[in-house]
């Protein structure tokens, strides 16, 4: 490999056919005379602009099909010509400089074209150099040079993360690895599970209970997750009514009065709330508005007056933390869109309440396709305000346009799986943790189950990793049509040649 040119923080390196380099790999440009080395990452590979190649191809196109022949090339010049014609140009981004074994974020110097040597840096060396693994490693998978890459759980602590990639590339799988990794270090994780994909986390692939089994709590709203109004304080119910059910301001004021009245008289039940709304002296429109929201609360099945079947969510959070961490999965798969918003509002408000009262230290929230249950106004709240209370969110989506640009800009870590759609690539390239060129070029060619890690977890050295498999029942409960049919069709038809055979 030879250094060709540098423009801004982009380095162009000539690479010859016998040198194997892949997108995403890191190279070390060592300038012995300057006693410095520059670290660059290959973000794209092009054919070198060798003069005459186009002419050569145009000339030979069409000829090769009908002309046979041979070359009497005693000096084997052809091999040199082919070598030149197959030369590649590596487009690289500068990521820092090593001086006296120390990594510094400098890219202003220019290594010598003639004296520099260029070689690949094994991921292992890079990880050590940048201290990526840290003291709380979460194993993510293998890099292309077969290095088992782990990230430091501390780099997820207090951070905003995004996991995105097109459908079927392994987003949920990765989020399970992260969630379980956090649990290994005693963290409390809440997962807003839109498709019921996390409900089997407590089971191994063979269906037996795994080591996480007792740490996984599945809550299905309306079934195993019901709450009483008594457990739901005014702040939580008001957020639910206003954000999830769109209660107008005037009606909200009246509701507050009703709630306080019931609370004061010790009659705060669902039944009494309905009666109180009907009997409350107020504008008929307000009354209607309140009653329709009340009906929604009742019909959701999420609220109950039966203390025995109610879940004390706050208590569950505290118990989970006390027991050394765990995952609370809110299974939203059988919940209608309006009820979903109600449940999520409740959960978030309850978490915020618990955190703000320092009843628990922190919650790692994994939100799948959050745009389906979070109001727009809520995003900033989660990212900025609630972060300070100790709610650290990981958004998971296959529609990158549903996440606001400011969230990309504020994200500390981004886990990118494959995207090919130009529009999607443009959106994700807004992430502040890496330059747009690196993201669009590498992500476009990521194979399934390969992820580009960006941000603090990799100390801003974007690394491609093949996500490891998990010994947990990770599949969701997608119902397939053809698997059922296949069972009816035998794999192969066997013809018995015995005496009973008619053939």
């Amino acid at each position: 490999m030879r250094l060709f040119k540098k423009t801004g923080n982009t380095m162009h390196i000539l690479c010859f056919p016998d040198e194997e380099v892949e997108k995403g790999e890191y190279l070390l440009i060592r300038d012995e005379r300057a006693r410095k080395s520059m670290i660059v990452q290959v973000i794209d590979i092009e054919f070198a602009n060798v003069p005459g190649v186009m002419e050569e191809i145009l000339r030979s196109s069409g000829i090769e099909e009908f002309v046979e022949g041979e070359d009497n090339d005693p000096l084997d010049v052809a091999s040199h010509i082919l070598y030149i014609q197959d030369a590649r140009l590596l487009i690289c981004k500068v990521h820092g400089t090593i001086v006296n074994g120390e990594l510094i974020p400098e890219s202003s110097w220019l290594p010598s074209r003639t004296h520099s040597t260029i070689r690949k840096i094994p991921t292992e060396s890079l990880v050590k150099l940048a201290n990526i693994e840290g003291s709380l490693p979460i194993m993510i998978g293998e890099t292309r040079d077969s290095f088992p890459l782990a990230i430091d759980a501390r780099q997820l602590d207090g951070r905003l993360n995004i996991i995105t990639g097109k459908k079927g590339t392994g987003k949920s799988h990765l989020s399970k690895i992260l969630a379980l990794g956090l649990v290994d270090y005693g963290a409390t994780v809440v997962i807003l599970d839109l498709n019921g994909e996390y409900t089997n986390l407590g089971y191994s692939l063979d269906g037996s209970k795994n080591k996480y089994h007792d740490k996984i709590h599945i809550l299905s709203p309306g079934k195993t997750f019901k709450v009483t109004l008594y457990q739901t304080n005014l702040y939580v119910i008001m957020r639910t009514l206003v954000y999830a059910l769109g209660l107008p301001g005037t009606s909200a004021r009246e509701f507050r009065h009703i709630w306080k009245f019931l609370e004061k008289t010790g009659r705060l039940t669902l039944h009494n709330l309905g009666e109180a709304i009907q009997n409350w002296k107020c504008n008929q429109h307000v009354k209607d508005a309140l009653y329709s929201r009340y009906s929604a609360l009742v019909n959701s099945g999420f609220f109950t007056d039966n203390m025995a079947e109610a879940t004390d969510f706050e208590k569950l959070l505290r118990r989970t933390e006390r027991n050394g961490g765990g995952i609370i999965v809110i299974d939203l798969s059988d919940t209608s869109p309006s009820d979903r918003q109600m449940v999520v509002e409740y959960v978030l408000a309850k978490i915020q309440e618990t955190l703000s009262q320092w009843k628990i230290r922190a919650v790692f929230l994994f939100a799948e396709e959050a745009h389906l249950y979070l109001k727009e106004t809520y995003w900033d709240d989660i990212v900025t305000r609630m972060r300070h209370f100790g709610l650290f969110t990981t958004f998971i989506t296959n529609q990158p346009n549903t996440i606001h640009e400011n969230i990309y800009r504020q994200a500390d870590n981004i886990f990118l799986l494959n995207f090919v759609n130009e529009h999607d690539l443009q959106i994700i390239s807004r992430a502040a943790r890496a330059d747009a060129e690196t993201i669009t070029s590498i992500v476009r060619d990521l194979p399934p189950h390969h992820c580009l890690l960006l941000g603090k977890v990799v100390k801003d050295f974007p690394i491609i990793v093949k996500i490891k498999s998990l010994d947990v029942k990770t599949m969701g409960q997608t119902r397939f049509f053809f698997t059922e049919k296949e069972r009816l069709v035998p794999d192969k038809i066997t013809i018995h040649e015995g005496k009973d055979s008619n053939l």
């Binding site: 060798v50 003069p51 005459g52 190649v53 002419e55 050569e56 000339r59 030979s60 000829i63 009908f66 002309v67 046979e68 022949g69 041979e70 070359d71 009497n72 090339d73 005693p74 000096l75 084997d76 010049v77 052809a78 040199h80 010509i81 082919l82 070598y83 030149i84 014609q85």
Partner: protein, 362 residues
């Protein structure tokens, strides 16, 4: 006009290409190339991109510049009919290029291609690229040995660019071998059958043509560009009104012979295809006129014509011509194998005058 129908047997498939290989004809020329290259080990090697670009501008054949006497032209238009009898067609072309300069000489590369069409099938054999390091010390030796080995009366002429001479000698060598080895074929040369020009003695050309005739071959020279003029009109443009394919013969009386120049071919302006261009076509003069015309009819019957130009010759040109990546590849070989130290060739104007010494676009 009665044209005698000659019988040409088809050349056995690839037999002459096989013979070309079996004879090891390239051995000596390769040795000479290697010997010349041994003188360059560890030397400084200058490469100029500006010069490189100019190498790819094709030089026009100077040998086509034959003067005609205005008003003395007697000519015949001969319509042609295609004869499809499977006669083999062979095209020969050679290219050379300057690869770089050392502190004691110049490195050239030469490459030749022979393309054979037989039984509707094209096959080629390509020799080279062969690099030659030509210095003041070895120039006479290299050319002397080349001509001796190839039994050619070739004398190095100091006033002609060695590159042109190297190309000529290689071309002659390929033409001579094909003339000896091919049987009952039409052999197409790039250029005319004019001899007596510097570095192109009449005896050599006569010998090759004789050898070809003895093997029942017909040699034709096709010039892409010609400066033949008739009453100040370019001859190849003159015949636009006639329906091709046809031949337009330029009789010897039309030419004012100068010095040692000898026309060993009968000269025609040929338009061989409807949508093609007209070319100067020379046919071995020692072959009866009618036979020559039949040979042209066999050429148009058995050969694909691209813009009126025979495909074998076009392919030979394509296979021999150097591209920029070829040159870079050869330069790489020289550096790797012979340890040449590559330095960029200085542009003296730029060195002396900076930006004021450069042409537009430099």
């Amino acid at each position: 006009m009665l044209i005698g129908q000659l019988h040409y047997e088809t050349t056995p498939k690839y037999s002459f290409l096989q013979s070309l290989r079996n004879l090891g004809i390239s051995k000596r020329i390769v040795e000479l190339s290697l010997n010349s290259m041994h003188t360059i080990k560890g030397k400084i090697f200058k490469v100029s991109n500006e010069e490189l670009a100019s190498f790819f501008i094709e030089h026009m054949d100077s040998e086509d510049q034959l003067p005609t006497k205005d008003g003395m032209l007697s000519a015949l238009i001969m319509p042609l009919r295609a004869i499809r009898d499977g006669t083999s067609i062979i095209g020969i072309d050679v290219s050379s290029i300057k690869i770089g300069v050392t502190d004691v000489g110049v490195i050239y590369a030469v490459r030749g291609a022979i393309v054979l069409k037989t039984n509707n099938h094209y096959r080629y054999i390509r020799l080279g690229p062969l690099p030659f390091h030509i210095t003041k010390e070895n120039i006479h030796e290299v050319f002397g040995e080349l001509s001796r080995d190839l039994s050619l009366r070739f004398n190095f002429l100091s006033y002609i660019d060695p590159q042109i001479q190297l190309c000529n000698i290689m071309e002659k060598w390929l033409r001579a071998y094909v003339s000896h080895l091919a049987r009952r074929s039409i052999i197409l040369w790039d250029g005319s059958l004019t001899a007596g020009t510097p570095g192109n003695p009449v005896s050599d050309l006569s010998k090759m043509l004789r050898a070809a005739r003895e093997n029942s071959n017909v040699v034709m020279g096709i010039s892409k560009e010609t400066s033949l003029k008739f009453i100040r009109w370019g001859m190849t443009d003159l015949l636009n009104g006639y329906k091709p394919p046809y031949l337009f013969e330029i009789r010897p009386a039309s030419f004012s012979h100068t010095g040692s120049l000898r026309l060993l071919g009968r000269i025609y302006v040929a338009k061989l295809a409807k949508r093609g261009c007209a070319f100067r076509l020379d046919i071995d003069k020692a072959i009866p006129r009618d036979e020559g015309i039949v040979a042209v009819e066999k050429l148009i019957g058995n050969e694909t014509l691209y813009q009126g130009y025979p495909e074998t010759l076009r392919l030979a040109h394509i296979y021999s011509t150097f591209t920029a990546s070829d040159v870079i590849g050869i330069q790489r070989l020289l550096i790797k194998k012979y340890g040449l130290k590559l330095v960029a060739h200085n542009n003296m104007h730029r060195t002396l005058f900076g930006p004021y010494g450069a042409r537009l676009g430099d």
